[in-house]
């Protein structure tokens, strides 16, 4: 089992190394097949001009059948973007990371989707239930059952 996940991730890593990442996305670290870090920047005219974010991917042995756990990193260097679908602890309410995950998606695919999610944001604000969620949120965003209500952004 673990073999399939590692092989698939090895291929993704190799592709990143040989083909490079799309504009605005950079691999920060991929030292193992359990956790990868990538940086994300929204290019062009957007609410997030000049801001750089970092994404943390955590993989299970069932990857790519099961979705990776993806969140924005909140550290001294990186902040969670202010966005109606992103909580201040970095958790993301996006259906492709939960019920709409598909095994043909990849790490880079997820990054591009999140990049466009940020790019299409009209107004910078936190989700309405941010404080309540952050207080009780589990460490792993996959344990949260998000309710995907808004598909405009």
């Amino acid at each position: 089992m673990a073999g399939i996940a590692s092989r698939r991730l090895a291929k993704e890593l190799k592709e990143i190394h040989t083909q490079g990442c799309p504009v605005g996305i950079q691999l920060l670290s991929a030292d193992n097949f359990e956790e990868w870090h990538l940086s994300l920047e929204v290019m062009g005219d957007s609410q997030y001009q000049g801001e750089v974010f970092a994404l943390k991917f955590r993989f299970e042995p069932q990857y790519p059948i099961s979705a990776p756990a993806v969140q924005f990193m909140v550290t001294d260097k990186y902040k969670s973007p202010v966005h109606p679908h992103v909580y201040s602890n970095g958790h993301i309410c996006a259906s492709i990371l939960g019920t709409e995950w598909s095994p043909v998606l990849s790490v880079i695919g997820v990054c591009v989707t999140l990049q466009s999610m940020l790019a299409s944001c009209k107004k910078k604000e936190r989700p309405p239930d941010n404080d309540r969620y952050v207080r009780h949120a589990p460490d792993n965003p996959k344990q949260t059952r998000f309710h995907y209500h808004d598909d405009t952004v």
Partner: protein
């Protein structure tokens, strides 16, 4: 632990379309189009869904178990829509067998074009570029060696044995333990395997006499026929797909019988039996999506199931609570029982201990009890 698998996989050969140079985009496309979008490998038992998208049988069966839709276009689907695709399988087989050769020719061509004068500096740059692909980790000594893939398909009987011999003798070393001649890059895995005989590709590489090569080539062809027939016979009786079982309505004994019927081990608990049987049905049915001559034998399938379970149990060692709320609900009864059991014991403990330890101080005892209660609340 975290680095090990990475190095292991980088040492083994993980192929992907970017093995081909950038100039050969059409070959990259060809290689990519013959790969499953789920696992990224060349299709194994390719199957098509109603929408026409193609995946490995095992991959798509696993994906459908989780979510009944096509992973690519999200069209609703189920297992009954799975159709095997023998034409694709034949195409993939053909590509699998010729890929290494095409890749080598392609890289040679690339090198020739980029370095017409064959200046040594440009050669080394080509080699450096290729270092990315994990299989060129050994330092090649001849230009040809840099193009040689560890893949045995590359050196099939048809490829020039002269060239193979040169390369083979160039990067062979003595194993420090058994003194056998082993390829430099395979020394580690050879020792890890307890110095067992090298893999068939090594044998092929180390052969030096053309006569023996010829013999090998013939035995390869003959063996394949013989084993093909043998396999066909082994499979003749039982090549019907297995039905899925609805485990919820079955009693423990009946679930166990399902395993006994398939001559599978009955170790573990009910959940283990169900998982084992489910996986067995999956790999069994996926195997039937292959052409008869490509199918695995029952014993190979059994070995596959065993490996799968070993991988699972390894992953399980650190128990992961998927859904905290669900977990709490499921185990509420047990938690309640534990709390109930802990309460009287605690108070009894404090009562029996208090007179001995700190007899006069009533207030402290109360404080201790409060603390215990707090703990209980956290548990709940």
């Amino acid at each position: 632990m975290s680095i090990d698998p990475l190095e292991k996989w980088l040492a083994s050969d993980v192929h992907d379309p970017s093995d081909f140079p950038k100039s050969a985009t059409t070959l990259r496309d060809l290689d990519g189009s013959l790969r499953c979008n789920i696992c990224g490998e060349l299709f194994s038992a390719p199957v098509t869904l109603g929408c026409g998208h193609c995946f490995c049988s095992v991959c798509v069966r696993e994906a459908i178990q989780v979510k009944a839709e096509c992973p690519t276009c999200r069209k609703t689907t189920n297992e009954s829509h799975i159709r095997s695709n023998p034409q694709m399988e034949a195409a993939v087989e053909g590509w699998r067998n010729s890929r290494a050769l095409v890749l080598r020719l392609c890289l040679e061509e690339e090198k020739r074009r980029s370095a017409p004068a064959c200046a040594p500096s440009t050669i080394s740059s080509t080699i450096k570029k290729r270092k990315r692909s994990p299989d060129s980790s050994s330092s090649p000594t001849t230009p040809e060696a840099s193009n040689e893939r560890p893949d045995k398909r590359a050196n099939g009987p048809s490829s020039s044995s002269q060239e193979v011999t040169i390369i083979a003798s160039a990067d062979l070393v003595n194993c420090p333990i058994c003194q056998k001649r082993v390829q430099m890059k395979r020394v580690n895995s050879h020792i890890d395997n307890g110095c067992r005989s090298p893999s068939s590709s090594d044998i092929e590489r180390t052969r030096s006499k053309p006569a023996q090569a010829q013999k090998n080539a013939w035995s390869k062809i003959l063996d394949r026929n013989v084993s093909g027939k043998g396999k066909a016979k082994e499979r003749d009786g039982d090549c019907a797909p297995l039905p899925k079982a609805s485990y919820q309505v079955l009693k423990d004994k009946q679930v166990k019988d399902l395993l006994v019927d398939q001559q599978l081990p009955t170790t573990g608990d009910r959940n283990a039996w169900i998982a084992r049987h489910q996986r067995w049905v999956l790999i069994w049915n996926a195997n039937l999506d292959k052409q008869p001559e490509q199918r695995k034998t029952i014993s190979e399938l059994r070995a596959e199931l065993r490996r799968w379970e070993e991988g699972r149990s390894k992953a399980k060692k650190a128990p992961v609570v998927e859904d905290a709320v669900e977990y709490e609900k499921l185990n509420k009864a047990q938690f309640d029982r534990l709390i109930a059991a802990a309460r009287p014991k605690n108070s009894r403990d404090t009562q029996t201990q208090t007179p001995a330890d700190k007899p006069p101080d009533e207030g402290k005892e109360n404080g201790g009890n409060d603390d215990d209660d707090d703990d209980v609340i956290v548990l709940d």
